[in-house]
Symmetry: C2
Subunit: 236 residues, 2 copies
Amino acid sequence: MMFAKPVSTFDSPALHRLSRIAPLGDAARDLIALAVREPRRVPMRRELLIEGRAVPEPMLLVSGWAARVRILADGRRQFLSFLLPGDLIGLCRHDRPLAVSTVQTLTDAKVATVPDVDLPELRQAYAASNALEEAYLLAQITRLGRLNALDRICDLMLEIHERLALADLVQGDSFEVPLTQEMLADALGLTPVHINRMLQQARRDGDLEWRGSLVTLLDPAALSHRLGRTPARVTA
Amino acid sequence: MMFAKPVSTFDSPALHRLSRIAPLGDAARDLIALAVREPRRVPMRRELLIEGRAVPEPMLLVSGWAARVRILADGRRQFLSFLLPGDLIGLCRHDRPLAVSTVQTLTDAKVATVPDVDLPELRQAYAASNALEEAYLLAQITRLGRLNALDRICDLMLEIHERLALADLVQGDSFEVPLTQEMLADALGLTPVHINRMLQQARRDGDLEWRGSLVTLLDPAALSHRLGRTPARVTA
DNA sequence: CGGGGAATTGAGGCTTCTCAAGCTTAGTGG
DNA sequence: CCACTAAGCTTGAGAAGCCTCAATTCCCCG
């Protein structure tokens, strides 16, 4: 069941992220690598968790994007956060937990069931991942509360850049963002029309390019500095 | 050290909340009650946690209000969430954790150091408290992203009503809210001026009264229904 | 009685929304 | 290979919501 070399060196964005946010020994690494090898395929727009329903076993997003989403009574939609490869879904430390938000895939995705916490190293990785997720929620609150439309877009792109980099999914300063302008609007509390105009603005300003689904940040360091951003850190 | 009766029946809003969100046996109850008995007094506007610094031992807010806050480079302020009596501060399950946000007292407060998780019942209560806190963060994102100014105010007041009720701090539908309009603005992503106007609107609409620091919801059920709110639930 | 923080009011401007139409692109079936 | 379609992107014009600045009033506390 354990392939000393092959499994340990098996590489995937998800595994990459986890081993980067917390040091994983060989045992933990093998457990994750094994789980990642046989993911479940989930098509686009499918629900992985449903608000108010029981949370099943914890999952690891192996590839593709998902989002935590809330739908209002009148049909308005708010994306609460995006879930990227390597993110954990449905981790709970209490008994009989209920999902506090619906999670749905935004693209075709691969999802693995991960071992529940038994190994100290895994516990550590899960906890760090959890803390990071909280940090991103706080960043989202600040974006929505205090940034204007243009800065919201730029700030979110910087966050995605930072997160995808953890999973080794950034080349140069380019990365895939499978979001429509409408989805972006629902994440940033704006309308698609305004997103469109501000994206043009961002391009004119030389902050980013967006061709097809490939986003390129032209000078992430400068942009980061202009927005007063600091990368998320949860461990000393 | 253990006073069988006195300690077990010692009552405080904080203890009330914890025993309500997760069933506490006598042992857990005594541990908390004991901690709550000798709280540390913290004056208004003091920092309990500082973003980026190491997180000290976990604390329980025994009385008073605090808030998680983020200050932008240009001085703008965003309150990320409010912490009410019975809320836990600085719970982390990974090693050498760094605070992801600053926490500061909004009023004079009492804070107790709580036992780190060793008892299953405590672990359960802490985890449930944590899950609730996450639920409130998600609610805050939805408020900022998709509600207009008036609805943001009403929705937040309903949330505070719900949370204070857990700690037995609501009488009828009235409760103390030690917030200035400026603080409310910084929580809801608005300006004090606009908060002022919308509060008047809410009063005219017969949704709430706000005299001194006492808020009264005139018909919480109807308001809740109008906003499409559902109370936070994290455990089946 | 005076000082100071908080609440209130007014006027004008900017950001974002709404509604509505036209365009572009990728995928589909003839 | 070419309509045809549907989803997504783009543009325009006008309206609404919220902000800014500035002044005034209220109220608590010393």
